[in-house]
């Protein structure tokens, strides 16, 4: 194996490229980056930061040259020719590969009205998106956010810090329905309301006009200077599908992140994989840390490693002074144990029928839940069956359960 091509220079693609070098690979590495900027971190685009919006290069993005990794910037991969083993790129060149990694990520789920895109509707995904949005998020302007997920809520935090009027519309009965327990979503919703965000859950939109005015079923009309939709993301699968790779909620890969073509791997937001900790259920993870880990894992697998990717899913969000962290997947849980840490901080442990810890979700001031969530993550990885009474007792050090 002499030639590696990587499509996508986000956290996943960059980490994969550098892992090849860390593992001693001496062949060529071509990294295709669809944006005009130095590869950058996405979390700062929506997460609060006192210094305002800035482009923060991904760690290692500035080390590509010294590592002899060729970055093809502002160029898209347009097709994969599996027979010739080459990737066509938008400047009409082609790049030959012995192994190919698709780390192309996800895109914003489009908000369509009467099957059409809404004029002037914005999405927050890229640095350029963020620049366009924050130009218009100013003191006294009116921002409407469609979708009560993390992107919308983090944007609301930033907008309130600039004294923008914020209305947030969610179709479901509560915020963060997909990934966050109701007890925690309630805390977050209350915090946004206290900050002056008008939160409308259970909203049924009946009209969106060409100026972005939104009418709800209850008769309210919401006019705004900017509408941003944050209604989830969809994996980018078009070139994989065009190359007849198997697609199943993303590019379908096996435990080693290999697609249906043994020379092609996929990792990060664009792929779905069977998770060994959750009965091999096929999942897709949109998370900063998973993107990095999967990039590294795929690189090692392409170099011959045979272990399966099985890290515990983990993510965080900051909401004003509150920090939320979640480890694991709570979908199959049948009981919940609450651990109160004081100052309104608490952690929920989600256990299966037979007492196995499947997930833990916590919220508190700053990073006050981080340590316990990290221990919970290790317990989840070990398939532990912790004593529920111990989990619920804040006087007992959670770390002691690791050796129990």
């Amino acid at each position: 194996m002499d030639r590696v091509v990587i499509i996508g220079a986000g956290e996943c693609g960059i980490r994969a490229a550098l892992t090849f070098r860390e593992e001693g690979f001496t062949g060529t590495i071509d990294l295709i980056h669809g944006e005009p900027h130095t590869p950058y971190e996405r979390p700062p685009l929506s997460k609060p930061c006192a210094d305002g919006l800035s482009l923060k290069p991904i760690m290692g993005a500035l080390d590509l040259g010294p590592n002899k990794i060729t970055l093809h910037q502002d160029l898209a991969a347009t097709a994969i020719d599996r027979t010739a083993q080459q990737v066509l790129i938008s400047n009409s060149e082609s790049l030959a590969y012995d192994r190919l990694l698709i780390a192309i990520g996800a895109k914003s789920r489009p908000f369509l009205w009467n099957d059409r895109h809404v004029p002037n509707l914005a999405y927050l995904r890229t640095y350029d998106d963020a620049v366009r949005i924050f130009e218009r998020v100013t003191k006294g302007s009116r921002l409407t956010i469609i979708g009560g997920g993390f992107i919308g809520l983090e944007l609301a935090v930033q907008a309130r810090s600039k004294e923008t009027h914020v209305t947030l519309i969610e179709a479901a009965p509560r915020l963060l329905g997909r990934a966050v327990p109701a007890e925690i979503a309630t805390v977050i919703e209350a915090r946004h309301r206290a900050e002056g965000v008008e939160v409308i859950c259970g909203a049924n939109i009946v009209d969106v006009d060409s100026k972005g005015s939104i009418t709800l079923q209850d008769g309210r009309t919401i006019a705004s200077d900017l509408v941003v939709a944050g209604i989830g993301s969809v994996p980018v699968t078009d070139i994989a599908a065009a190359a007849d790779l198997v697609i199943d909620n993303g590019i379908a890969v096996d435990g080693q992140l290999r697609t249906s073509d043994p020379l092609i791997f996929a990792a990060g937001d664009c792929c779905s994989f069977p998770h060994p900790l959750y009965d091999g259920k096929r999942i897709r993870i949109e998370s900063w840390r998973a993107a990095q880990e999967q990039g590294a894992h795929a690189a090692r697998a392409m170099l011959g490693a045979t272990d399966d990717y099985q890290s515990v899913p983990w993510f965080w969000s900051d909401q004003y002074e509150l920090g939320l962290q979640i480890a694991g997947l709570s979908g199959e849980a049948s009981q919940t144990v609450r651990r109160d840490l004081g100052d309104g901080c608490f952690i929920l442990f989600h256990l299966s029928d037979n007492g196995r810890l499947l997930a833990a979700s916590g919220i508190g001031l700053g990073n006050s839940v981080a340590r316990d969530i990290r221990v919970a993550e290790m317990l989840i990885a070990k398939r532990s069956l912790p004593d529920p009474a111990a989990l619920g007792d804040p006087a007992l050090k959670l770390k002691s359960l690791l050796t129990a």
Binding site: R15, L18, M59, G60, W288, R289, Q292, W316, G366, N367, S368, A370, R371, R374, V375, K399
Partner: protein
């Protein structure tokens, strides 16, 4: 100029644990492991997060936000997403109190 500052009582830190100590506009992280004490800069070199909220396992402190890891004896960064080492400070114990040398 270097000076020794009393940081805390040694009993304020549990074994294999970390606490935060602020002094004169600076923040530090203090560690205890098998009755040895260590001091480092208090903020992660990646995104200025307080390390004292992180988890200590053996001689490693892990950032509570992005899981950057450092050996707190030497300050050595242990891989992505951290690449810049953590500053460390000399410590001494005097009469049940922990002092760190800063400046």
């Amino acid at each position: 100029m270097a000076e020794w500052i009393r940081a805390c009582a040694t009993d304020d830190i549990e074994d294999e644990d970390v606490i935060r100590f602020d002094h004169a506009g600076q923040t530090f992280a203090l560690y205890r492991k098998d009755d040895q004490f260590y001091a480092t800069a208090g903020l992660c070199t990646h995104e200025k997060v307080h390390l004292a909220d992180g988890l200590v396992m053996d001689y490693v402190i892990e950032c509570p936000k992005h899981n950057g890891r450092f050996d707190y004896r030497t300050g050595a960064a242990k891989g992505a997403p951290v690449c810049i080492n953590l500053k460390t400070y000399p410590v001494k114990i005097d009469g049940g109190d922990l002092y760190i040398e800063i400046g």
